[in-house]
């Protein structure tokens, strides 16, 4: 087992190097650089290029490409992720500020989509082929088929402006910073994000519920005279949930990228909002770190899934 894990991790390292190089190269290929975005376009005409070149030099933007990459990777290995070109704040501090917000939103959405999705999936499976099945499938699908930002905006109009039930956006208000005090801020974005992920879980749980309902032991249970609802719930559901759990494991890393649009709609101060701003202003260290960080999460999660599968399933060969 240990050599298996070590091997997996060893493969990961060169991969991360290659990826970091590719992202760096990609940013290099972007037209312009961060300095072009520090001055508003209207004012650009009045500022001399020579002045801006001084700033470029000071920020290390005019070094040769490979030198900058070498510099960056050297710093990263020392645990220093660089500084935002816009504000000079260390990227690690930025991430430490923004990541909790994104994780909070994503986890809430994950909980909503899992509960709702598996519930709808099971109910749908029990009504397979009947009207209820179709209605639920269509309903589940709507969440994923509506463009997220439109869904978000319509929800704001309904729940914030018409019914005046919830705050319009942001993560907290001053003096109300504890989790339960700012729960009202979380509700709308989490629901919109959650509903957009429900259909996938629902589809999966419906299929695995159908699968397990056709298994031998269910028939045995039925033949023993156990009431139908008990058979369905206790036996079917328990088995059906296992692959859903695996599915969720796979979805976890996607959540970092999944909330980009929602964070924008609801002024949620998370990684996604920071990333969009960084892409728009070509803030290299921030783009690098968000991309690199999300890739690392995805790769690490996939190794964890591999290891878990290896532990659970004796058929997977470790050699």
């Amino acid at each position: 087992m240990i050599p298996f894990i070590i091997r997996k991790v060893l493969v990961l390292i060169p991969m991360l190097f290659v990826i970091s190089f590719l992202i760096f190269l990609g940013i290099e290929l972007m037209p312009g650089d961060a300095v072009d975005f520090m001055i508003p376009p209207d004012a650009l005409a009045t500022i001399s290029q020579a002045e801006l070149d001084v700033l470029r030099a000071e920020l290390g933007l005019d070094d040769p490409f490979l030198a900058r990459y070498g510099n960056w990777i050297g710093q990263v290995m020392k645990g220093d992720f660089g500084y935002s070109l816009q504000s000079g704040v260390s990227v690690r501090d930025l991430l430490a500020q923004k990541l909790p917000a994104t994780i909070e939103l994503s986890l809430a959405a994950l909980v909503i989509s899992t509960l709702l999705g598996s519930l709808l999936g099971v109910v749908s499976a029990l009504n397979k082929g009947r009207l209820g099945d179709h209605v639920l499938t269509v309903a589940g699908m709507i969440g994923v088929a509506i463009p997220q930002f439109l869904f978000g905006l319509v929800m704001i109009v309904l729940f914030v402006f018409q019914m005046e039930l919830l705050p319009v956006g942001g993560r907290m208000t001053p003096g109300n910073e504890a989790f339960f005090q700012r729960l009202d801020h979380l509700i709308l974005p989490a629901i919109v994000l959650g509903l957009s992920m429900t259909a996938g879980v629902m589809r999966y749980s419906r299929a695995s519920m159908l699968d397990s309902l056709s298994k031998e032991y269910i028939r045995t249970a039925r033949s023993k005279g156990i009431p139908e609802w008990r058979v369905n719930l206790i036996h079917g559901l328990r088995v059906a949930m296992t692959p859903v759990a695996v599915l969720i494991g796979f979805r976890l890393p996607i959540l970092i990228g999944g909330s980009v649009v929602i964070e924008q709609v609801f002024q949620w101060p998370g990684v996604g909002q920071m990333f969009v701003a960084a892409v728009r202003s070509q803030n290299t260290p921030v783009i690098m770190m968000v991309a690199f960080f999300s890739v690392s999460i995805v790769l690490t999660a996939s190794i964890l899934v591999d290891i878990a599968t290896a532990l659970l399933d004796p058929r997977v060969k470790l050699s």
Partner: protein, 551 residues
């Protein structure tokens, strides 16, 4: 590698498709051909303006919340009378185009650099207007290094050829002083990429800077406007307004509202807010940092409230009485300014403010890249500034301190010097001395700035909100009750402004967006106050010889 070659392949294919589509016979020789571009012919430039129904665009698209432009200068005492408005006249436009021999197979390459809906809508409208007089045009949004694509002048300022590829560039010109509108018409201007040297034009531009007398300045500007208007060296389209939004909960105590892109006396210490906690809600809170006062000294409310200037300004941005200076005086020839500083001013951290801070700020900001051209010009006009910048002197010799008195001696006249000192604030020497002026914005100071202003930073949650609180030690007082100022985090273009206003969480804010003004105007508890600003939308017309970019 695969990606790259695929992109190249695709581009080639696309180019071939375009090339195949627009092959047509050449037209007969026209007068402009000797000049290397049809746009060098004044009749064609006039026709392009005559074909656009700016009146209808302003009335309908902007719902009247903009002003049609006849010059860079907006209506008022700085605008000449009797300029030709070039009102919508498609027939005359067609006649002029025919007369000048407009090549009907030419497709104008029009560039713009804003991606907002309104700009795109306007571009679509203008494209249709031109199409109806037989002018084909193609619009594209520029990406990347804008300065290099837009403002590089040719080596030969008279004959070109052009260093930029476009035919017309849609741009906004924001000006703190009138000079910012017109300096770029000079053939030596570093940002004049489109207007070749013309006999007498440079002299007319220089005349506007040659005097400190306001009436003489106005006369010079008016003469210049007439010249530009007759020859249509650029095509002014409209003056944008700014809109200041105030809520019913706020009483601004009779203050006059003005150009909020910059600082002006709002008497905020007298404002009354009808909220139990004395909190005033606004936007513009820092996303990642508080913006340093370099290119924009007063774009955000916090810049204005955290820092004081030497001189105060009124709603028209005209310098008024002293602020950090108890009083000041300008010598009759305008070449010397003396500031007598207050001695009762403290920084937010308790340190005393002194003349040292003033000297430090001037010597520091002059080295900050991206400093607004108006301020840079003032600082560079101070005697000894050049030697200081060249490293030949360790200080600017034209700045003299005597106790609490600072005297500036200028080597060249700068008619905008007082304007500069009424907008660019004084920064704390004790916190910034020794830091690198080039990376001013990257200094950690801008995570929690310390100023001398009427409000100070209380709490900052970057990207969410920030709160300012009243500075109890401020040297002036007022009878208002605004204890705290809550700022929703946003950039200059706040896409959440309307949502926040709608939910009752905006008491004072401003924007230049007509869409915002329309939406907020519909909210019962909000008032929209339109304000004239020096902000003009124009087409720059590339009159240097260049071949068609779209073939």
């Amino acid at each position: 590698m695969k990606k790259l070659s695929a992109i190249v392949l695709f581009l080639c294919l696309a180019a071939m498709l375009f090339a195949a589509g627009t092959q047509e016979a050449a037209s007969m020789p026209a007068a402009w051909e000797a000049q290397g571009t049809p746009l060098a012919d004044v009749r064609i430039r006039q026709a392009l303006r005559l074909a656009i129904d700016m009146e209808t665009i302003v009335d309908e698209l902007f719902e009247g919340m903009a002003q049609r432009a006849v010059a860079m200068t907006s209506p008022g005492s700085w605008l000449a009378d009797g300029l030709d408005p070039y009102s919508y006249d498609p027939e005359k436009a067609k006649a002029l185009l025919d007369e000048a021999g407009w090549p009907s197979d030419y497709t104008l390459d029009v560039v713009y650099y804003y991606g907002d809906q309104q700009t795109v809508d306007l571009m679509a409208i203008i494209q249709q207007y031109w199409a109806t007089v037989g002018v084909k045009s193609s619009f594209r949004k520029l990406e990347g290094d804008l300065a290099a694509q837009l403002w590089v002048p040719p080596a030969d300022r008279k004959n070109g050829p052009s260093e930029v590829k476009w035919d017309l560039a849609y741009a906004a010109v924001a000006a703190l002083s009138e000079n910012e509108f017109y300096d770029r018409f000079e053939s030596t201007a570093s940002n004049n990429s489109s207007i070749p040297w013309q006999s007498g034009l440079d002299e007319k531009v220089q005349a506007t800077r040659a005097t400190a007398d306001v009436e003489q300045q106005k006369a010079a500007f008016k003469a210049l406007q007439k010249e530009i208007n007759a020859h249509m060296y650029n095509i002014p389209l409209y003056h944008q307004l700014s809109f200041i939004y105030t809520s019913d909960a706020l009483d601004i105590a009779g203050s006059t509202l003005g150009n909020d892109q910059f600082s002006f006396e709002k008497h905020i210490l007298d404002w009354k807010i009808d909220r139990a906690d004395g909190m005033l809600y606004t936007n513009g809170g820092p996303m990642e940092f508080y913006e340093a006062p370099a290119v924009n000294p007063g774009l955000y409310l916090y810049q204005e409230l955290l820092f004081d200037k030497l001189v105060n300004a009124d709603a028209n941005l005209t310098p008024t009485e002293g602020m950090l200076a108890k009083n000041y005086s300008v010598s009759p020839d305008g070449m010397q300014i003396t500031f007598e500083l207050r001695d009762d001013v403290k920084w937010h951290d308790g340190r005393a403010f002194s003349a040292k801070d003033v000297v430090f700020t001037l010597e520091y900001l002059i080295k900050t890249p991206g400093l607004n051209a108006v301020a840079l010009n003032t600082f560079k006009s101070i005697a000894g500034a050049k030697e200081y910048l060249d490293g030949k002197a360790s200080s600017i010799s034209g700045i003299k301190v005597n106790g609490q008195t600072v005297t500036l001696t200028f080597s060249t006249l700068d008619p905008n010097a007082l304007l500069t000192f009424s907008q660019w604030p004084i920064l704390p020497a004790h916190l910034l001395a020794g830091s690198n002026p080039v990376t001013l914005q990257q200094n950690s100071f801008w995570q929690k700035p310390v100023g001398t202003g009427p409000y100070k930073v209380s709490q900052t949650v970057l990207g969410n909100y920030a709160i300012l609180e009243r500075n109890a030690a401020y040297y002036r007082s007022g009878n208002g009750n605004v204890k705290k100022i809550f700022m929703h985090a946003s950039s200059e273009n706040d896409s959440n402004l309307v949502k926040n206003a709608e939910s009752g969480r905006i008491d004072y804010a401003w924007s230049k967006s007509v869409a915002d003004a329309q939406s907020i105007g519909a909210i019962d508890s909000m008032t929209v106050n339109p304000v004239n600003i020096r902000y003009t939308r124009v087409f720059w017309v590339n009159q240097y010889p260049h071949s068609a970019n779209i073939k």
